[in-house]
């Protein structure tokens, strides 16, 4: 019997309980956790440079890009650690998904306005362009959704 308050996230899903489903879950969880922990650590190491990267997008009004630069890497880091340690996985995946959606919207807006900027996804030194970053975030979003949906496969996750 499912635990109290189950909303049946994965009810009826064919891969539930299957070893391959469990493997896919862990691969997605570790990949997303690793990417978020790395991104958060790199950006958090140089907040002023990351503030400059946020300013490039011309979305967050000055001086609030400094606040965003201080807060976002820490949330990314926390979500990454929880995913890597297999704890509060759905909540961490939800946070990661929310952040990733915001990143994708910002990248899409930059692309639509023809801004020639670096994505700033992994700090100021990262050289990837906006289009490349958008495709990467799309793949990351798929892994986040799979992590969220397949979490019920793992008896050890909390």
């Amino acid at each position: 019997m499912a635990g109290g308050g189950s909303a049946g996230w994965d009810g009826g899903c064919a891969v539930t309980g299957h070893p391959l489903g469990r493997l896919l879950y862990h691969l997605c969880r570790l990949a997303v956790g690793g990417v978020f922990l790395y991104a958060g650590a790199v950006k958090g190491a140089d907040v002023v440079a990351f503030a400059g990267e946020i300013a490039n997008y011309r979305i967050v009004p000055e001086p609030f890009h400094y606040l965003a630069a201080a807060v976002v890497p820490m949330i990314e880091t926390m979500a990454g650690i929880l995913l890597l340690f297999n704890r509060r996985v759905r909540a961490a995946a939800l946070v990661a998904g929310g952040l990733n959606l915001v990143f994708m919207l910002a990248l899409g807006a930059a692309l639509a306005r023809g801004l020639d900027i670096g994505c700033g996804c992994f700090g100021a030194g990262a050289a990837s362009g906006v289009k490349e970053a958008l495709w990467r975030d799309l793949g990351l979003m798929a892994a986040i959704v799979l992590t969220f949906l397949l979490r019920g496969n793992d008896p050890l996750s909390r």
Partner: protein, 174 residues
């Protein structure tokens, strides 16, 4: 007969609450960890520049004058000279259009060349990488020592200028 194993699950409400606390904890840690920078941006330098602008008064002679973006735009239109205090590499990647590069470093000739080209009576606006950067203050102090009468520091620096969609140049200084 297939047996579907189900492990303890959680409701939407619980997941949303946990996600909220992750964001809250992350935001709190971020603000606490970077309090010196954020305090400087929101509580000290920007309010000081705003107050000075509102009172339309000048600070004591021989001290740096904080300038807001709108002040800098007006000053540039009136003929003030912009000075980029960041590294030559950062300057090459992008700078405020029309700015001159005067990086902080052991280059006395750089300041001497600047003095040869810019009269001491011309207002000079110094900037660097934004509120976390002190180089504009240090270069500004050197300019005052060199005899410049009106030296302003644009605290928002290159990030604020670029974020406002104002003209940006690339490449080395002429």
């Amino acid at each position: 007969m297939s047996v579907v194993r189900r492990y303890p699950d959680s409701s939407w409400g619980q997941v949303l609450l946990e996600a909220f606390f992750i964001c809250l904890a992350g935001a709190a840690f971020g603000v606490l960890l970077h309090y010196p920078l954020l305090g400087d941006v929101f509580l000290v330098r920007r309010p000081a520049a705003k107050a000075l602008a509102a009172e339309s008064r000048l600070p004591e002679a021989g001290s740096l004058i904080p300038a807001l973006l709108e002040d800098v735009r007006a000053l540039v239109e009136q003929g003030a000279v912009l000075v980029d205090a960041r590294s030559p590499e950062a300057f090459r990647e992008g700078h405020i259009a029309g700015a001159r590069s005067l990086p902080l470093g052991p280059d006395p000739e750089g300041l001497a060349r600047f003095r040869d080209r810019v009269p001491l009576t011309v207002p000079v606006v110094v900037y660097c990488s934004g509120y976390g950067c002190r180089d504009s203050h240090d270069v500004g102090a050197r300019l005052i020592e060199a005899g410049y009468k009106e030296v302003l520091v644009f605290e928002g620096g290159f990030p604020e200028w670029r974020a406002a969609g104002l003209p940006v140049g690339t490449g080395a200084a002429p």
